[in-house]
Structure formats: C-alpha cells, structure tokens
Symmetry: C2
Amino acid sequence: MTVLTVGRWAAFSAAEREVMEAVFWERDVSRSALAAQMGYSKSKLSAAVSGLMTLGVLEERGVHASTGGRRAEGLGLSAELGVVAAVDLGATSLSVALLTPTLDVLSSLSEDTDVRQGPGPVMARVKALLRKLLTLQGLQEGAVLALGMGVPGPVEFHSGLLVNPPIMPGWEGFSIRDDLAGVVDAPVYVDNDVNIVALAEQWHARRTLQNFFVIKVGTGIGCGIVCNGAVYRGVDGAAGDVGHILVDPLGPRCHCGNVGCVEAMAAGPAIARAATLAAQAGESPLLAEWLHTQGRLDPPDVARAAREGDPVANAIIQKSGLLIGQMLAALVNFFNPSQIVLTGGVTRMGPLWLASIRQSVYQRSLALSTRHIEIRPSSLGEHGGLIGAGALAMLSSIRAESA
Amino acid sequence: MTVLTVGRWAAFSAAEREVMEAVFWERDVSRSALAAQMGYSKSKLSAAVSGLMTLGVLEERGVHASTGGRRAEGLGLSAELGVVAAVDLGATSLSVALLTPTLDVLSSLSEDTDVRQGPGPVMARVKALLRKLLTLQGLQEGAVLALGMGVPGPVEFHSGLLVNPPIMPGWEGFSIRDDLAGVVDAPVYVDNDVNIVALAEQWHARRTLQNFFVIKVGTGIGCGIVCNGAVYRGVDGAAGDVGHILVDPLGPRCHCGNVGCVEAMAAGPAIARAATLAAQAGESPLLAEWLHTQGRLDPPDVARAAREGDPVANAIIQKSGLLIGQMLAALVNFFNPSQIVLTGGVTRMGPLWLASIRQSVYQRSLALSTRHIEIRPSSLGEHGGLIGAGALAMLSSIRAESA
C-alpha cells in the first residue's frame, strides 16, 4: 500500500495535482477525455499520468466505450493509496467511516453523542471508533491517507479552530487538527457541517454544480456556498451564517438579542413552540392530545399532525416555509444560484413546507434569477455527511492546503 | 505602434497571459517581485518576459529600489501597444475616453444624453465622440487595442446583449458589440455600470480586494460583486440585482408589483417623494418653500435641507440609510465581505446617510462578519466609470474571453 503522509502530499508538481483533482472528480475517466477537459496536450498529460502511475497514485480501470477504433482505458485513483477517514459530528450523533480514495464507503460506525459534553469525551469516541474501523478492516493507523471532519459550528478553515460555536460550549478555540495529529500521520481538515454537505452535493454532481448553496434548517439555520466551483467561506470564514437575517421587523426576540431573525421564527424550535402554544390555546385538539400524552411537541409531531390533515399544523409549516423562502429570495436576487439544496431535520416537514419555500422565492425574486433555478431537498443518502468529509479530505490534500 | 487586433490577442501562451495580467494589475513591477508573486522560476519568467518584450507588449520602466546590490528594472505594459477605448454610459450622461494600456487617461469627452432615446441616436454619439478623440490624439481607428463599455442595465456578459433593461427601453437584445465591431478592429466588452465600478475599485486597490461588493444607489439600487478576486455574475448574469429585496412586509407597492422593496423605499425617487409629501403636509417649511419655488423636490434638495438643519430632511435621509443597511446586513451575513463600497447619486446625501447605513449593518450582522468590515463611499474620482471600462477591456482581452 502506497500511503501518502502529510509530507509526501506536498511533493507533487502542479500538473500532477491538476490531473489528480480531475481524476478525483470524474472517478473513472479516459485519457482522451481528461486531456480535452484539462486543455493539456496528449504528451503533457501522458507525462503526468505516467509519473502518477509509477507512484501508485493512479490505476487503470475498466475499458471504456470509445468513439474511435481503439479501446479507451479508464483511469482512477488507486485503492492502493490508502483509506480516507471521514467523521461526521452532529449535535447529537457521531458517524465515522473509512472510504476508498474514490469515496466508496468501506465501513462505517454511528452512535448517539452529545456535543455539549465538550471536546474531551467526544474526541475520545471519535478516536475509539476510528481505531475500531481500522481493526475491522485489518489496517494500521498509518493506512489513513487523509482525514476530513464536519462539525456543527463555525470553523476558521485555515487553522481548523472552532470559533464561538453556539451549540458547542467548551469547544471554543479547540484544535481538532492537533488532537488527531497524534492518531493519524495524515493531513486533517475540519469544516462546518453545511460546507461539508455542499461539497458532497458537488461531488455527487461531478463538479457540474458551480454556483449554488445549501441551506440547513434544524435547530438553527446555516448556509454552505459554492461560488465559481469552490466552497466560499468569506473574509473571516463567517459566510453563510444566515440564521439571523431579519424577516419581520415586528417579529419576536431571538437569542442573539435582535428581533425577527429567520432562525427565531422558522427553525425547529420555533415550529415546536408554535405547536405548543396552539395546543395550549385549544386551537388543535390533535396537538393538544399529543402534548398531554408526550409532555412536549417536536417538529416531527407537527409534520405528523399535518399529514393527518390538522389545519393548525399545516399553517405552522406553511409559515416556516414562507419566511425561509422570503430570506432565500433576497439571497437569490444577490447571488443568482443554479440550485438551492435544502437539508437538516426540518426538511422532513414534507411537501407543503417545500412548496411554501418555492412560492415565496418565486414571488419575491426577479424573473431572470428564477428562470432556471432548482429548489430541492438534498439528494444525498444517509452517508452524505461522510462523503462530504471524505471529499474535503481528498480535495484539500490534493491541493496541498495547509493541514 | 504594435496594435493587437481581435485575432492577435488569442495568440499568447497561458504563461504569457498570466504575466500580462500580473503586470497589468501591478502597473510597474520588478522581475523578482513578479516571479515571487506568480510562483514562477526565474528562468520560466525570463522566457515569458523576453517573448513579450520582443512582441512590444512589455517595456522597461524606471529603476526600482532593490533590497540587494543590483538595481531592479521595473516592467510595465508598453504604451506602444495602442490605446484602450472606454465608454461610460449613464441614464443621462455619456463619457468616452482613450487610455494607455496602464489606464492613464489620455483624453476624454463627456456630454448629456438620454439613454431612453434608444440605441440608434445614443450609439451614434458614442462613435462620434470616439472618432473625435482619435483625431485629437492623431490616431487611426486601428490604434484601438480593446474597447470596454459600461451601461445602466443588465448585460448577458458572454453575448454582450442587454437583457430586459428597465431604464433602457428599446435596447432589449441590442448588441453593442456588433454595433461597434465595424468601428474598431479590437475586442469589445460590455458590462453593467456597477460591475464596472467594482472592477475600478479592484484596480485602484491593485487586486488586494478579493471579496467585496459595490452598492449603487440612485434611481434604482444595484450591486457589483467580487468573489475570490473575480467579478461574479451569477448563473444567468443576474447576480447583484438587489433593488427588490424585501425590507418591510407592510411597505408600499413597488413598480415591480411586489410590496416593500428596498428600491421603492430608500432610493432617489422614494427620498424625493417623502420630501414632497412632507412639504405638502406642512411638516417642513423649508421643503415647502422650495417645492413652491422649484415646482419639485429632488434628493439634492433633501441633502441641502438636512445641511441647513431641517429635522424632516434628516429623518428622511436616516430612514433611507437604515433600510439600505438592513438589506446590506442580510448580504453581509451571507457573504462576509471585506468591504462594502457605496456609489451612485444618493451617496452624496451626506454623512448622516452613511452613518445610518453603518448603524443598521452593525446592529443586524453577526459580530464575526463585521469585525473587519469597511463600509465606505467609492474612492474613485470622476473618471471611475471610465477606468473600470478600461480595466474590463484590458482584463477580458488578456484572458481572451470571447468578444
């Protein structure tokens, strides 16, 4: 196995890196398609490919259908390179996986966690799951090529430090990178969970998505932005922090101190609160009954009541969608994206929520900006976060970003 | 004179283009600084520089102070290349200039116009002024190296066509590029006036501004976005069309059909209307007097009244600033820019307007996003639009964008 350590990633030439990145996005690509896509001459491409095959970075894949008489051999990143470690940390869940360099999941483990326990206990579980997976695969820790991790809070990307993470008390200034450096001899990259989903969506679409954003609606509201093909983090790494955009000057006070923030009016807790108030006021017998039996109401209860035809639940869902759509309309006018991808727990509210978002965006955005726009739930399955973390690890390593 | 025609721009190698672009941004730069900045070896840089000097593209400039014992010769784009033609078309004004390849203004002409006359009469004036300037400089039309033009409406950048320009009736689908192709044998690039100002600001800062936006507030409100160092136009070229972002769900109806658009509540016409209503209602004796003598009130009247201490005028200016700031706060949370640059006629409302914008942005944006942000009026002088049009012409030609 040709494992690349932190130092060895830095040894590639610019042309070799470009070829690696192009092959990474394409998974399995013929030399002629690669040369055409990169604008390389056949000889320049051959030189880079030969070097990378000698180093064990690239390998021949199956035979491609060819337009000419000769068969076209496909190229892919070699499985011999090692494994990619991916960590997807949520507020209440932890998943760890080992992936091939082309992001096929070799094995994964998930468990409940509470990120508020702080970095000590949580990172101990990350390391334990990682070691368990390596053992299951019969691998040493040195087999890890690169590690990527998504976290539910803002990250200063170049340092990998958590910055003022509201739902992660005790993590402020904690370096996940340093903490994992002793475990794997490989570059470690950390980013927030929404940027990770944006990267996974881009990977899923083989880089055809160039200008889009992902909105995560759960306990809070966050946004991952891709601009000209790259994740855009802003000047201070704070881009996409859209939860406190004003949607109603007469709205309720938010925990941030301002009034009328979209997060305070349309995210999970606002939905649960509206349902509880409606139940207490006797507006919905169904919600009142569940509140009585369960002791509390959560967004899935509202979704369930809506499915059973409860008009109050439908109105709550519709209001959330309309307010999120109003916020998105402003961002569509500014950014003119090709797609808006929705993710997070509230996405499971159902079709009425999505329809309300769309209605609001179409009504409040300019015709030119909405001519081709697609607003859709994320198409990633349960492993979306892990695939995104793996893509972060591979891309950042190939580009030799500081780790 | 070594004039580059449309075809000849395409003949440069990728390395030559990179050197040309770096020299363009720097104006006058030593070989060692250039090699360091571009990550080129001295030999690779020397080869590209020698080729470009032989072709007459680069020339030696003055002697630079050097840290070592040897003197460092500066390099710049050669004035022998030809002249850059720049056209700055506003709703009511037209300026045309000839610039050196390093964007020094050789001569310029301005006159009043009315863009609503349509392309025929307006473009005839563009051509007449261009010919007059060439004659004044003793040059043939063939001396023009590249032409850039800013227009007060949305442009589909790759085709150069105007798309549904609200204040330019009769221009829909008109090709300025084709119209000027018969006049100059050089690439022609067209963009909207706010993108042009963004480019001029970036040029002014020698490309140190990488992520920022320009807001133009006049009759309408528009935005020019620079993302990762490049003007960002969005998927349909509609990015930055922020005038119809909702700022008050209970606000007045806008000409677009929606209610509460920032343009309808805070741009020039809204300021004039608020002043007129206040004068008619007897709330401001000063404004009432001017309305009586002048027959109408315009934004400069409101600014003048504010300078004379009129409280109603001050309240009108403050409300405009607060609403624009509220809209900008949403964009700051989303985009986390290093700067917001204000331009357009309403910018001349004075310090209270700017202070109100700042207050609103600081109150409604996240602390991390506003830690380093600068909100300021454009620092470009009267030739800002022309410099931006010249920068568009040079950069697009160097990058061989389709023209």
